[in-house]
């Protein structure tokens, strides 16, 4: 918000045109998360993934490019840029070309409503969390499109599995989010984060702000809600143990089997952007979003301009922490079977989330 106003004022002072100021500020502030978060994060996360997996398996991982291979992903990106863009004859060309763009824009759309710090949120809409759920459903269309237009049975199977999975796991996600909405009475992620200000015991996982009886009654149900949400969002981003849509050993690599070069890179980047997005949502809902757990250095030193920067760092580190847990889970658990996947969702997560919703509702009435 502050970032947007700042850019608007600069352009407005130069051009004296409100439209020009509006458009420039909008475009620049929309591109900020892409340039300063999604791209560097994807590069960092791919490297981290390889290093974490390697060390968990007592290997070293990439070691040659740069110190401990930190340049490896950059080298890979350069390689992907140079690759031939293959479109087979039997592919449905327009859909085939559109699909990666749709998938990536779907996952980038989520970043519009994420509260990065009190100074910057892409779009401070009141329906923030609902918008995020709707936008992440957008990805399904792109994935189905990719699978269908590839004209390849493995791609189509992967896409269908992915669609079934995302659609099923949206239900527990929404049910858990609904419990939070019920307590806080807001769907605006920025307001939600502001409500958890102060110290870490004001976070939703510890029952939210205040010192009433209901705060303490909430705690066990918040933990159940957090675990449910974490599992279902993990399934929504198609990560192991829920990676049956791109199961390497069964389906080559699922819906992006036929893609090469930058189109493949877009799918890849969308996956990592999604990982960060769901981690950020989990941290925004349960772990205070951009709020520091123990006050700000900027406030202590009397430098108020430092606070938003600190908030951004807290937000990013919370997100990266949950991404690391996702990686940790990935290299711990084997892949679920399709029936196990559906059983976990419909027989366990949805009933638990539902009972949780009812109990939290009763406590709220108290």
């Amino acid at each position: 918000m502050i970032v947007y106003d700042f850019l608007y004022n600069i352009v407005f002072n130069i051009t004296q045109s409100a439209v020009a100021g509006d458009i420039t500020a909008m475009v620049i502030s929309a591109a900020l998360p892409l340039l300063f978060l999604v791209l560097p994060f994807a590069i960092l996360a791919v490297w981290l993934e390889r290093k974490v997996s390697a060390h968990m398996q007592d290997r070293l991982g990439p070691m040659r490019t740069g110190s401990h291979g930190w340049l490896q992903t950059i080298a890979d990106v350069i390689k992907l840029l140079q690759k031939e863009d293959i479109v087979a004859n039997d592919n449905d060309r327009p859909l085939f070309n559109l699909a990666p763009i749709l998938v990536f824009s779907g996952s980038y759309l989520v970043f519009a409503a994420l509260p990065f710090s009190s100074a910057y949120i892409g779009s401070n809409i009141d329906l923030g969390i609902i918008f995020i759920i709707a936008a992440s459903g957008f990805v399904v269309a792109g994935i189905l499109m990719a699978g269908w237009s590839s004209n390849n049975k493995y791609s189509l199977l992967g896409a269908m599995r992915s669609a079934a999975q995302i659609v099923s796991y949206e239900i527990p996600t929404i049910l858990v989010i609904l419990t939070i909405i019920m307590i806080t009475g807001t769907t605006n992620l920025r307001t939600l984060s502001e409500m958890q200000t102060g110290y870490f015991w004001n976070w939703m996982i510890f029952g939210g702000a205040g010192l009433s009886l209901s705060k303490f009654l909430f705690i066990p149900f918040m933990i159940i809600g957090f675990v449910t949400l974490y599992i279902s969002t993990l399934a929504e981003v198609n990560r192991t143990p829920f990676d049956i849509p791109e199961a390497e050993s069964e389906l080559v690599s699922g819906y992006h089997t036929e893609y090469s070069g930058m189109k493949f890179a877009m799918f890849f980047m969308a996956e990592y952007a999604n990982m960060f997005a769901v981690s950020a949502i989990v941290s925004a809902i349960f772990f205070g979003g951009y709020q520091s757990p123990f006050g700000y250095l900027g406030n202590t030193l009397g430098l108020t301009w430092m606070v938003p920067i600190e908030q951004f760092l807290w937000f990013a580190s919370k997100g990266i922490f949950f991404v690391l847990v996702q990686m940790w889970l990935r290299w711990t658990l084997p892949r679920l079977r399709v029936d196990q996947l559906m059983a976990l969702c419909w027989k366990y997560l949805i009933p638990i989330a539902f009972v949780n919703l009812i109990i939290v509702g009763l406590i709220t009435v108290l």
């Binding site: 390697a54 007592d58 711990t332």
Partner: protein
């Protein structure tokens, strides 16, 4: 109902156990090594690339005959009297010019059977195992120390000697050569 909660608990607790295992392994030092920079110590009796020390080779052809895959090919020319070929390191006198000593290492099966028959221990296995080549022909190792011109000279010298001998034989009784006499005494 009891089973349902048991399932949840079982799933949750086993995930925790698995995560503990992977977390522990995160801090276990890697068991792999950075290969070209760091190399594993080879076993004591490893068998790798063959090497021939031509200073000691007497051209006896025993290694070539021992080879089960015929990867060694040796050609020799007899020395003519008066030529000094020197001695091997274990005191054997050389009598043959080795004009060809090729080992096709691509064929070699590393059985080490060529090493034992060698009377002068001049063919042996080294610890070199990185010798990949782009051309298959570069895997035929040529150990001959003589230059092609020298080889040609040795061959013509020997041919001349043979021709002389044949001429003498045709002329009458062949005279015993002093050089050969000496060798027979030894």
């Amino acid at each position: 109902m009891k089973e349902y909660f048991q399932n949840i608990w079982y799933g949750f607790s086993t995930i925790m156990i698995g995560m503990r295992v992977t977390f522990k392994h995160l801090f276990v030092p890697a068991v792999t090594i950075q290969y070209p920079n760091v190399k594993l110590k080879l076993p004591e009796r490893e068998r790798n690339r063959l090497y021939v020390n031509m200073n000691d080779c007497i051209g006896c052809d025993q290694c070539a005959r021992a080879c089960p895959v015929s990867c060694i090919s040796i050609e020799t020319v007899k020395s003519i009297p008066g030529e000094d070929l020197g001695k091997t390191s274990n005191g054997k006198k050389k009598a043959l010019w080795v004009t060809k000593f090729d080992i096709d290492i691509a064929k070699c099966c590393f059985c080490q059977l060529c090493v034992f028959p060698c009377p002068t221990e001049c063919i042996y296995m080294t610890d070199v195992y990185e010798y990949a080549e782009f051309e298959r022909s570069s895997l035929v190792y040529n150990y001959v120390t003589l230059t092609p011109a020298e080889i040609e000279a040795k061959k013509t010298n020997y041919a001349k000697l043979e021709a002389e001998k044949a001429a003498q034989k045709a002329a009458g009784a062949p005279p015993v050569k002093p050089a050969e006499k000496e060798e027979n005494k030894q």
